[in-house]
């Protein structure tokens, strides 16, 4: 083994630093999934009848489905009756003073999430979600002055029922897939964002998801609607405690982008990835889709995926508006026994719509990292353009990198390009760095950061720094 290889081998062993558990009293529904559980969730959240009906319909549909198995993943069967579908910290706020439970504040402080308004300098509105409920949403009032709605979806159901009803399930219907049906039946909190016509949201909106309770899953649902000529940048982060069990995270994110509006959705996914022998970790099985309904609308997905034992998701764009734009930038780093099968779908329905896909996979240890994507150009979507680039970097000879793009073009005026490469870190680059006094460990960090730079640049600044740190921490010990 050369020094390089040894270094790479070490780099993957950095401990997960968000693996603590917060000791708060939590109200957990008994394990199992049936109609009564769904009714109970709905009752706890004081939901209207139409939403309960929606959940029950989704549940009835879910029961007719089987867990899909087509991914390039070894995903053991999940016992859906062994999971509790609702867990909420009992004391979110002190009833008298409106202050948050100090334990929760401490937890989010430890995670680096500013929940206190005094941290206004961070300039970011946060919706913090612990297990099944939102514990705090900051800046809501200030945003409301502009007409921007930013609140937990359960509040939105209560306060803006018409809006929610109009858009919920519109982009990802409960019939979409197995996990979408499951989520539609049992979904708990997530964020609801509505940006009115012509408003440029003055700050980054973000959701922070935390799984805390054991033997639960998280099934949040996020709905973002950007009305004509609006703009919003939305960030999502997530962590979970270290546990030997696998926990399920099956979320849905729906985005609707109207005429000339733009939504930028960034994810830094750092769920617990399991230990170095592949025990425990989160199953991250998420359906994310945006509908660019308006002409000249734009949706941009950026994701940095470093966590989860299994990641299986395809943030997608349905480009229905003429001249609409879809973008997907992804860095997926897998190590130890992590598995990732991720990518995107770009469905071009509108004329002259364009899409760009840049996917960078980095595999270390015994991990498997796949890009899977679809670019579809409908017969009437003339003049469309797609460019796809997906590169894979292999840091160990026991890891795997795979590419499965599907391209369907149904007219003669569109241009689609796809490029993919797979290789290991260039020895000459490492040699060059060594020669200039940069140790191999730093050299690999530099090269990987350079490799991922194209995607990192797309992240909002605060996140880019975090993501870069995360990437180098994740790499520590896995480089060689």
């Amino acid at each position: 083994m050369t020094d390089n290889q040894q270094f790479i081998a070490q780099a993957a062993n950095e401990e997960y630093k968000y693996g603590f558990v917060t000791d708060v009293d939590t109200h957990v529904l008994p394990k199992g999934l049936n109609e009564d559980v769904i009714r109970e969730i709905s009752r706890l959240k004081q939901e209207p009848q139409w939403l309960l009906d929606f959940r029950l319909k989704a549940f009835a549909h879910w029961r007719t489905l089987e867990q899909p198995s087509w991914g390039q993943l070894k995903l053991p069967p999940i016992d859906y009756q062994a999971i509790s579908y609702y867990a909420a910290p009992k004391k979110k706020t002190d009833g008298n003073t409106g202050e948050m439970d100090p334990e929760l504040v401490k937890t989010f402080d430890k995670l680096g999430i500013p929940l206190e308004e005094r941290m206004a300098l961070s300039g970011m509105a946060v919706d913090a979600i612990m297990d099944s409920v939102s514990v705090r949403t900051t800046y809501s009032e200030r945003l409301a002055e502009l007409g921007v709605i930013f609140c937990p979806i359960s509040e939105a159901v209560r306060d803006y029922p018409d809006l929610v009803r109009r858009y919920l399930g519109r982009v990802v219907p409960y019939t979409d897939n197995f996990f979408a049906a499951l989520n539609s039946a049992v979904f708990s909190d997530g964020s609801f964002v509505y940006i009115p016509k012509g408003v440029r949201c003055p700050m980054e909106l973000s959701s922070y998801f935390r799984i805390n309770a054991a033997q639960t899953g998280q099934f949040e649902r996020t709905l973002i609607v950007a009305d004509d000529d609006s703009y919003v940048s939305y960030l999502e982060g997530c962590t979970a405690p270290m546990r030997d069990e696998n926990q399920l995270h099956a979320a849905i994110v729906e985005i609707v982008v109207e005429d000339r509006a733009e939504v930028k959705y960034s994810t830094v996914q750092n769920w617990y990835p399991g230990d170095k022998d592949g025990n425990g970790g989160i199953y991250n099985l998420v359906t994310k889709r945006g509908l660019c309904r308006g002409d000249h609308s734009k949706l941009s997905w950026t994701q940095v995926e470093t966590g989860s034992a299994v990641t299986w998701k395809y943030p997608s764009c349905v480009l229905a508006g003429d001249y609409s734009v879809g973008e997907f930038y992804s860095v997926a780093l897998t190590r130890n026994y992590q598995q990732a099968d991720t990518g995107t779908k770009m469905i071009h329905l509108g004329r002259n719509s364009t899409s760009t896909i840049v996917s960078k996979g980095i595999s270390a240890g015994h991990s498997q990292n796949s890009y899977r994507g679809l670019v579809k150009i409908a017969p009437k979507a003339t003049g469309c353009r797609n460019y796809t680039q997906c590169d894979s970097l292999l840091l160990s000879d026991t890891s795997g990198a795979h590419t499965f793009p599907v391209i369907e073009v149904d007219n003669d005026s569109s241009v689609v390009e796809h490029e993919a490469t797979t290789s290991k870190i260039n020895e000459e680059q490492i040699f060059y760095c060594n020669q200039r006094g940069i140790p191999t460990e730093d050299a690999v960090g530099l090269i990987v950061n350079g490799y991922a730079k194209e995607v990192m640049q797309k992240l909002p600044m605060e996140f880019a720094v975090e993501a870069q740190k995360l990437l180098s921490v994740s790499l520590e010990g896995s480089v060689g």
């Binding site: 003339t382 795997g400 599907v406 073009v409 796809h418 797979t422």
Partner: protein, 451 residues
């Protein structure tokens, strides 16, 4: 009733006729093939690797099989002269599924090169047939299993160790029948150590109204340090359906070129599966398709690198006109412990009409880190600026189109390692783009519509 069951019934009803005279090696596999088919179902359109192709409907028609091996009265050697000018080949014919050598082939002995039917080989080279027949093809693919069940004969090509076949071997497949027919063809090619050979297979059809199906399986074994070129040219008619599966076993240091060309056809599904089993092997897998009308060409390729330090290069090009449908699904697999593999896969497509459809799925599956693998795909149109440039210099739009399309195809044509064939192909492709392919000058039988 599934499309397969009619053929299973056909076999059961005529079991003795299928077995009579066929070599033991073929008959031995029929039982397993039958049991596989009894539980098999044909992949549906949209399922993995069959995005654009519905095999059930391709096989649904009641195609007749020449169970009793009746001979046709055509003197093909006399009638068919669509060969490559000035290129001397050892020519063989396959009329539906019966093999005939031409007179020239009988005259030219090439240092022990064996070209004979399986029925002949059963007596003369039984060990070759028994050792290789069905070994590569397996029975997992239902169409291969169907071929194995129904094939009654095939052609064995054997190049002994150290022999260089000076003259290329040419096999001309001709389909002719008065009623819908299925030609069940089988080729087994064994290229010995340090042996070198080239082979040209042309698919022709004289049928313009009758439906015909060619169900073909080709197995190629390239031993250590051998060189083998396999050119497969399809010039059939719109009523022709073809399902071909080609399997290659490449040993260390072997150099294999496979070139699949479809100029005219009805429905074509070509499967290529190449297992690179020895170090320093070189694989070139090329293909091109020119499709118009309602032609349907679906290519599926799989190159498995099972040994380190190998090189493979794959390139498929499609030009689609009218309502033609093209599909390409390619996969490169590098198994664990196979460092220093270099593999490239390319698929370039031109959609030249609003109704043309292209589906493509290039895939990489890599389990070793020290490799260089890449793929590239494009779907687009002719470059408007290039067209404008040519027109501004007085070149008519049609000629400019043809020139650009010809240039688009040039790297596949240039990969041909036989000078005369390369020239001939260039000429054929040009004619194809001009729409005048079906009138080869000196062919009296003609692939065109009979007068």
């Amino acid at each position: 009733m599934s499309a397969l069951s009619q053929y299973i019934d056909l076999y059961r009803n005529h079991r003795d006729a299928f077995h009579t005279g066929a070599p033991q090696a073929m008959n031995d596999l029929r039982g397993v093939a039958l049991s596989r088919l009894e539980v098999a179902s044909l992949p549906r359109k949209g399922s993995e690797d069959y995005e654009a192709t519905d095999l059930s409907s391709v096989l649904a028609d009641d195609f007749g099989v020449n169970v009793n091996r009746r001979d046709f009265d055509a003197d093909v050697a006399q009638a068919f002269r669509c060969d490559v000018p000035n290129m001397s080949t050892n020519l063989y014919f396959c009329l539906n599924d019966r093999y005939h050598p031409s007179r020239t082939a009988l005259l030219h002995d090439q240092g022990g090169v064996v070209v004979e039917t399986f029925r002949q080989a059963a007596h003369k080279h039984p060990q070759l047939l028994a050792g290789h027949y069905g070994r590569l093809a397996g029975l997992d693919n239902p169409t291969v299993a169907l071929n194995t069940l129904l094939a009654q004969d095939g052609l064995l090509v054997y190049i002994p160790d150290g022999v260089t076949a000076e003259r290329p071997i040419q096999l001309v497949n001709i389909l002719t029948a008065a009623m819908p027919i299925m030609a069940v063809r089988r080729l087994l090619i064994v290229v010995g150590r340090e042996a070198h050979a080239k082979m040209l297979v042309c698919d022709h059809s004289q049928l313009t109204t009758t439906q015909a199906l060619a169900l073909q399986v080709v197995e190629i074994v390239a031993m250590e340090n051998s060189t083998f070129d396999y050119y497969d040219l399809e010039e059939s008619t719109a009523t022709n359906r073809r399902i071909s599966s080609l399997f290659v076993d490449q040993r260390a240091g072997s150099n294999v070129l496979i070139d699949g060309i479809t100029l005219t056809n009805g429905f074509t599904r070509n499967n290529y599966r190449i297992e690179v089993n020895g170090e320093h092997a070189d694989t070139q897998l090329m293909g091109m398709t020119v499709a118009s009308g309602r032609q349907h060409v679906d290519t599926h390729t799989f190159i498995a690198h099972n040994a380190p330090r190998c090189h493979s290069n794959e390139m498929f090009k499609y030009v689609l006109n009218d309502e033609a449908v093209g599909a390409f699904a390619g996969r490169i697999l590098v198994r664990p412990g196979c460092p220093r593999v270099e593999a490239y896969q390319g698929n370039r497509n031109l959609c030249a009409s609003p109704e043309a459809r292209m589906y493509t799925k290039p895939q990489l599956e890599i389990y070793t880190d020290d490799v260089k693998c890449s793929h590239g795909t494009t779907i687009g149109q002719l470059d408007e600026e290039a067209l404008f440039y040519m027109r501004s210099r007085g070149i008519g739009i049609d000629v400019a189109h043809t020139m650009l399309m010809q240039a688009f195809m040039s790297d596949v044509i240039d990969a041909v390692r036989m000078d005369l064939l390369r020239d001939r192909l260039r000429h054929l492709v040009e004619k194809r783009f001009n729409g005048s392919l079906a009138s080869c000058a000196n062919c009296v039988s003609s692939c065109k519509t009979p007068n």
